[in-house]
């Protein structure tokens, strides 16, 4: 079988790519997608450990993560739409309301 470490390495790589995207991309939508990537990396880790320990708690966690991710995407995208309505842009650097 494949050593757990490989899966973990894959998860790490995936996570870092997602993080990279979050940090460098300007388009809010893409940022969201990268967040999804990170979540998936987390899932992968869960499953890998579940496989290693042989109990299904990991699966359950992954299941919940997916559910939460769905909710998050819904709300996030809604926000993006709202922002686009008000500002006509989805570029993060145009959204600096946190300053004031």
């Amino acid at each position: 079988m494949v050593p757990i470490t490989y899966y973990l390495l894959l998860a790490a790589a995936l996570f870092c790519m997602g993080m990279f995207g979050v940090l460098v991309r300007r388009n809010a939508l893409v940022v969201f997608m990268c967040v999804e990537l990170m979540l998936n990396a987390a899932n992968l880790t869960f499953l890998a450990f579940a496989r290693m320990r042989g109990d299904s708690i990991g699966h359950v966690s992954a299941f919940f993560v997916i559910a939460v991710a769905a909710a998050e995407a819904a709300i996030g995208l809604a926000i993006v739409i709202a922002v686009f309505r008000s500002r006509g842009s989805v570029l993060v650097e145009d959204i600096r309301t946190m300053k004031h």
């Binding site: 993080m19 979050v22 940090l23 460098v24 993060v92 650097e93 600096r96 946190m98 300053k99 004031h100």
Partner: protein, 746 residues
């Protein structure tokens, strides 16, 4: 049955009376409460009745108590009588009885750890005689006041305060321990504060009251510290003393410790025992030169600490009894109503210092240094006051300074170890000085409150009773045979002359000759006062054309006091025989049980040689001449000299001297500049600089300011770029993970 036997059978036996000693204090206190709270509803007459009867009741009880102190019962056969007035001294051995005394302990006041204070009252011959003076003179002055204050609508306050004062003074005298004494000590201060400032609408009077209280407080400060030192001394003594010491004190360790547990360390009996234990002998471990082994006083000797404590007590006594350096409040205290001056600032309160030292005579004689200081302070104060009195024109001021001067004389006596004479002078002085003050009050009452003797004069025809009594009192204070003042003062001077302090022999002669000068000058200024007030023609600027004699309530006390100041002389006559058989003054014999411990210590510790001889006729004559000379000089000056050369300007130096004396040698101004101003200034500076500026502005607001600045500086980091924040988070994450990794590596 003869007089002696009459006095030996008290109507109430000591053991019956002792439990009700508290009433002596309670009665005036109750009176004060009633007058103070319900006075205005009760009306004038009732207030008079209550106040006077309260003091009168106290007086009766005092008489009974005093009588009971020498109560005897027929003994076994041959007519010898057995003394019943005694109680077991808890600090002594089983058979150690305090004779000619009764005491009662009302139980704990407060007790903490191994410290305890009881409501313990005790009457012996010393406090007994003072009880009589306080309540007796007190009653007379209450009576006098009923007429003197008849036009004042603050009468109820007045009598409340007066009763309060009497209660406090009685507490002071009856207390059997230092703390309870301190209650009276401060209580009288408080009462005198209230009474001096009685006419508070006049700022000057209110200020005088405050001055009196604060000055007294300075003394109390010293008194407190001295008390604490005493506590430390007692604990050190009990820690270090061995059987020999206790044997020397006529006690033993268990009894002493037990008594400390039960009575507390500050009872006079206990202190006396410690003083006896501190005497030097071959068998004992602790004496005056022994260093204290442990505690805060580690390393100091018992004698040293004792001296320090006594000197602090001296400062305390100086505050209360108006001695150098704290006498300044007394002359201003004359702002109060005249009867108050008579009661508080002549007869009773100001003598508290003398009482304190007589009460602690056993301790005082342990330290020649302290005794010398007391005597010298007394002499200097007395002289200074006498000189100031020369130039005062306010009748009450003159009397005030003469009081200070007389108190100085008492201190001389106390300091030189002739306690009985000092107490005797205290008593006689109470009589004639009260008489003088009341006389002055009567004069003012009859002359539209005129106090300037220059504006009086020729009153002998208009105020006969006042004049007569005033004359008697003046003769008494100037020391003219056969009046009491002469004998008491002469007894003091005689003792001062013949007692010698260990290592300080020069003191006795120095003080003695100062004393003669003082006696002469006393005679001088009193004669002057008398002449200007009563003799000669009526002054032109007199407020009222014809003075009227006062009512009987005012003259009666005058007469009584005058009579007393004559008959009190009996006390000084050497009618008794001392234990060793030679003649002894009545009063000395009478007080001998009180001062027995003092005598034992003085003879044992060899710190002061007490002389028990009685003055010879020559001494009397000499002292008499001194007094006469002073009086004669005054008579010559103010009857012949000044009237003769009236109108001619006095020589410059004379005027300069007179001005200086009139301004009390600028002592008040001196204090103003070296004490009061600096303190006020310092407090102001501290408030502005340290409190307002350094702490509040710089430290507190400074912190706030810095915080604000930092905050506004950090605002620039806040770009609002979400990704920037995320980047920071990422970096933090990296750091965290890296750290964790490193941790894992080890």
């Amino acid at each position: 049955m003869n007089l002696a036997e009459f006095f030996q059978v008290a109507p109430v036996a000591p053991d019956l009376l002792a439990p009700s000693l508290g009433l002596i204090i309670a009665l005036p206190l109750l009176g004060a409460f009633i007058c103070g709270v319900f006075g205005r509803m009760l009306g004038r007459a009732n207030v008079h009745l209550i106040a006077c009867s309260a003091v009168a009741g106290a007086f009766v009880l005092s008489v009974l108590a005093f009588w009971a102190t020498s109560h005897t019962a027929p003994g076994a056969g041959d007519g010898a009588r057995r003394l019943l007035a005694f109680y077991r001294n808890p600090f002594g051995i089983e058979a150690d009885f305090v004779r000619y005394a009764l005491a009662y302990d009302y139980g704990t006041w407060f007790a903490v750890g191994d410290f305890r204070v009881n409501f313990g009252l005790a009457v012996d011959h010393l406090s007994g005689i003072l009880l009589l003076v306080i309540t007796g003179v007190g009653f007379l002055i209450h009576l006098y006041s009923t007429s003197y204050m008849e036009h004042d609508d603050g009468y109820w306050r007045y009598f409340a305060y007066l009763n309060l004062f009497v209660a406090a003074m009685l507490t002071l005298v009856l207390a059997d321990n230092l703390v309870l004494l301190f209650v009276g000590w401060e209580g009288v201060g408080m009462a005198s504060y209230l009474l001096i400032g009685f006419w508070y609408t006049d700022p000057a009077k209110a200020w005088a009251g405050r001055k009196a209280f604060v000055t007294n407080r300075i003394g109390d400060f010293a008194f407190l510290i001295a008390t604490f030192l005493m506590v430390l001394l007692v604990s050190a003594f009990t820690r270090q003393a061995n059987a020999g010491d206790y044997a020397m004190a006529g006690s033993n360790s268990q009894r002493y410790q037990a008594a400390l547990q039960e009575k507390g360390p500050l009872t006079f009996k206990g202190l006396e025992k410690m003083a006896e234990g501190l005497m030097d002998s071959n068998s004992d471990k602790v004496d005056l030169t022994t260093p204290i082994e442990a505690g805060p006083l580690e390393g100091y000797t018992f004698g040293g600490v004792m001296t320090a404590a006594l000197l602090l007590f001296l400062l305390g006594a100086a505050g209360k009894s108006a001695q150098l350096p704290l006498y300044v409040w007394l002359p201003d205290a004359m702002a109060g109503p005249t009867p108050v001056s008579a009661l508080i600032h002549a007869a009773t309160m100001v003598t508290a210092g003398v009482y304190l030292f007589s009460r602690m005579a056993a301790l005082l004689v342990l330290s020649p240094t302290a005794m010398a200081t007391v005597a010298i302070i007394g002499a200097l104060t007395s002289l200074l006051a006498a000189l100031i009195a020369f130039a005062q024109d306010d009748i009450k001021k003159v009397l005030a300074y003469s009081t200070v001067s007389q108190l100085g004389i008492m201190f001389m006596g106390v300091g030189m170890g002739i306690f009985w004479a000092a107490v005797l002078h205290l008593v006689t002085h109470a009589f004639f000085k009260a008489c003088l003050f009341l006389g002055a009050g009567s004069v003012m009452h009859g002359n539209g409150d005129e106090t300037d003797i220059k504006k009086l004069g020729g009153l002998r025809h208009e105020m006969k009773w006042t004049w007569g009594t005033f004359l008697v009192a003046t003769l008494a204070i100037t020391g003219i045979i056969p009046l009491s003042g002469f004998f008491s003062k002469d007894a003091i001077l005689h003792g001062v002359h013949h007692n010698h302090l260990e290592g300080l022999h020069w003191v006795s002669s120095a003080v003695y000759y100062l004393g003669l000068v003082i006696a002469a000058s006393t005679a001088f200024y009193m004669t002057r006062l008398y002449l200007l007030t009563f003799e000669g023609p009526r002054s032109k600027e007199a407020r009222v054309a014809h003075a009227h004699e006062s009512a009987w309530q005012m003259t009666l006390p005058l007469v009584v006091l005058a009579v007393l100041s004559v008959v009190a002389a009996v006390y000084a006559f050497p009618l008794m025989r001392s234990s060793s058989g030679q003649p002894q003054a009545v009063f000395e014999n009478f007080l001998s049980p009180v001062f027995s411990a003092m005598n034992r210590i003085a003879n044992g510790a060899k710190t002061v040689e007490l002389d028990t001889s009685v003055p010879h006729l020559a001494d009397y004559v000499f002292a008499w001449l001194v007094a006469l000379s002073g009086g004669g000089a005054a008579a010559f000056l103010y009857l012949r000299f000044f009237p003769a050369r009236a109108g001619q300007p006095a020589p410059a130096f004379a005027r300069a001297v007179r001005r200086t004396a009139q301004n009390k040698f600028y002592v008040d101004e001196l204090y103003e500049f070296i004490v009061i101003r600096p303190v006020k200034f310092m407090s102001f500076i501290l408030f502005r600089v340290v409190d307002a500026l350094l702490i509040d502005t710089v430290a507190v607001r400074g912190t706030a300011w810095v915080t604000a600045r930092v905050g506004s500086a950090l605002r620039y980091v806040q770009t609002g770029d979400a990704q920037a924040y995320a980047a920071v988070m990422a970096l933090a994450l990296l750091g965290g993970v890296a750290y964790a990794l490193i941790q894992v590596m080890q």
